[in-house]
Amino acid sequence: MATGIRDKVAIIGMGCTKFGERWDVGAEELMVEAFQEAIQDAGIDKNEIQAAWLGTCFDEVNVGKSALPASMTLRLPNISVTRVENFCASGTEAFRGAVYAVASGAYDIAMAIGVEKLKDIGYGGLPEFSSAMGTLNGLWFPNVTAPGCFAMLASGYAAKYGIDMQELKRAMAHVSAKSHANGALNPKAHLRKAVTEEKILNAPMIAYPLGLFDCCGVSDGSACAIVTTPEIAKSLGKKDFVTVKALQLSLSNGTEMAYEWDGAHFVTAAKASSEAYKEAGIKNPREELSLMEVHDCFSITELVTMEDLHISERGKAPKDIMDGFYDLDGKLPCQVDGGLKCFGHPIGASGLRMLYEIYLQLHGRADKRQLKDPKLGLTHNLGGFPMMNVCSVAIIGKYDA
């Protein structure tokens, strides 16, 4: 009988680069930057790392295939290194690989590193997807982009709950404004300016009804985690360390796309979060979680996700958002570091970047953003499109929490 991952693995070191348009560096330099911070934080020697996972998505316009770029760039000691790719969950997948490797007893210390160099393509937005979708999909799939697909969710949500689009856009604007305010406090964020709701509402349209500020930035970045068992963490002299409470993944099976779905929620996120709460022993996430870093690729994604994570009731996320429930000084702060909104979304790095913020908060190292005595934090990634996606949910917390 499986017992889940709760408290079987400790995070002993993390690193995260400054995210942004890093015109001066490539994926290799970004990996070194994140890795150096993590290894110093862990206080171990590089040669103590026994296995590693690299998360990166658009390898064709980035580091290239295989895990060799990580192994060679970091000069890892000829250990096993595996590249994982699972859309926007790629970073969390790398983390999952390292965590499971330690939990299985196969290794004592493992590492996860995620990286994405997006700004070598010459145009805005994520890299064009049509060359990367296989020989069949490209022949029939609509001419979609990420903002377009998530924009559709807003039309579905407004129709399902009978909300006027202007009213929904107001709640979406609050989502973005809140994240911009948080990002302004974070020296590692890409976008560091507060933005008013009015400015957000009046921005040029990217994909109806999403305007410019409803979309997250596009950035370069890398983040890294080093994990081991709680016993080894203790033997290394770590106190008040952070452990993994839950790690869940849920993938669409085509039901939403081809059979039945209301077009107003994420089937996978609802499932993955329920499983994660069970794994972590959380009964009432609205009360028990201290903070969340969710996949706010677009404002509407975050809004709907608040319901799928079982924090806001169905149809009630706009109200909670407008009540300030998810603001920095709210009951359950969300996107405390500024989120994808301000960090941008270097895909392979994002999941680990989210964990980095929770890790900092749990250690009381979040500076101006520091929350009072946080115990449990949740991260969430949503890769693909509302109608077919990969969703990861991770919960980490203090070992004794």
């Binding site: 145009y123 805005g124 001419n143 982009t145 377009g148 559709m152 579905g156 129709a159």
Partner: protein, 485 residues
Amino acid sequence: MVGIKSYGGYIPRYRLNRMVIVQNMAWYLPVIMAVAQGEKSVANWDEDSLSMGVAAAYDCMSGSDRKALDAVYFASTTLPYADRQNASILATALNAPEAGVDDADFTGSIKAGTTAAIAAMEAIESGKKNNVLVVASDLRRTKMATMYEMFLGDGAAALLFGKDDVIAECKGYYSHSCDFVDHYKGYGKEFDYTWEERWVRDEGYGKIIPEAITAFLDKAGMQIGDFDKVIYPCYFKGTHVGIARKLGIDPSKVQDNMHEVCGDTGTAHPMVMFVAALEEAKPGDKLLLASFGQGCDVLYFEVTDKIKDFKGPQGIKGSLARRVELDSYQKFCKWRDLIVADLGIRGEANPNTALTTLWRKRKMLLGLVGSRCKKCGTPHFPPSQVCVNPDCGAVEEMDEYEFAEKTGKILMYTGDMLAASVDPPAIYGMIDFEGGGRTMLDFTDCKLDQIKVGMEVKLSFRRKYKDEMRGFTGYFWKAIPQVEE
């Protein structure tokens, strides 16, 4: 009795008022003002002669069994492929049979439509075929500020020929062929090269059509007055009238050349005009149809009682009524690729088309054929081996299931300004099909602000992409929101 069992027509939704061309281009060629009456039909940017042909073919076959077709003939001078049977793409889009069927393209002259019709009737008369679908279509690109730009429109028509239950019986035909070159298009050339208009009028249309009709009448022992409608193309209004005068046709019995409503649709035009005539015909009417282009075909049909019971499709009348004005000459020029607008680096991605994949999935991609679970009845698009219904999950228990003629409802949608598109925003969304099944499709022939969740859509075969580097045109189906015009 050989004749026509059904007809169909397609005139694209967009119409360009000729005064818009005059306003934009009369500075360059003032004489275009002389023919600026009415409007011309303009195919959307994602349409071509083949996609319009598919629309006309579906219209024609809406009450007939597509599985009973013995052959599909496709006539056009603007075929997307020089070597790949365009008629077989059309037949696959119809999900028509492959075994025992011979599809053929008819091209090289704008009278190729009537040539195909005669070939179809000869095949049926010989007893070798029973049901032959003839589709004619043209989308002729013209240079800016030319008389051709004023005269030509886009459109398609289809006729189903057979033996039994015909709505119009063919009573005879006659052909005249000669190398009269009013215009031509050499290999690899983008545009037609045209000779002096006065000569084309007087020595071309004005002589060749009357002479062929006269020769047919002599051969058949008939008088022009025996006919209730005489149908022949000629985009010069004066010459169109002049031909009637020359032949002694009562002006009320001359079928309008449709200059004001859509313009001359080239290879399709004799059939477009003929379908328009059939839409108004009564039992017993005698119709004389002539074409033009390196000669002239003359065909004589007599309408039967069956036309009374014929459930008319959208046809020419219906598609003419379904119109929206295209108010921008620049947009027209962009749609026809006459001007260059930057698609951006995002638009450069250009994977080739895996012909192996296309072959395996031809029914899905060209015919919008999905599957339906034999156990639980759930329709699937794309076709699936494992049933998507979580309460069923049957494996390899699927029948073929056609979606092309289903309507659907919009579940969600967007208008995407980021996607590389000839006509931004790229509009797309999720569709729930009537009778079950759902998928995601590009939308076309619509404006973003007209669309709502829950709105009905119909499906249309369109050009999905054009791989200019390799000369490949890919097709798929799009959804057309049924907005109020």
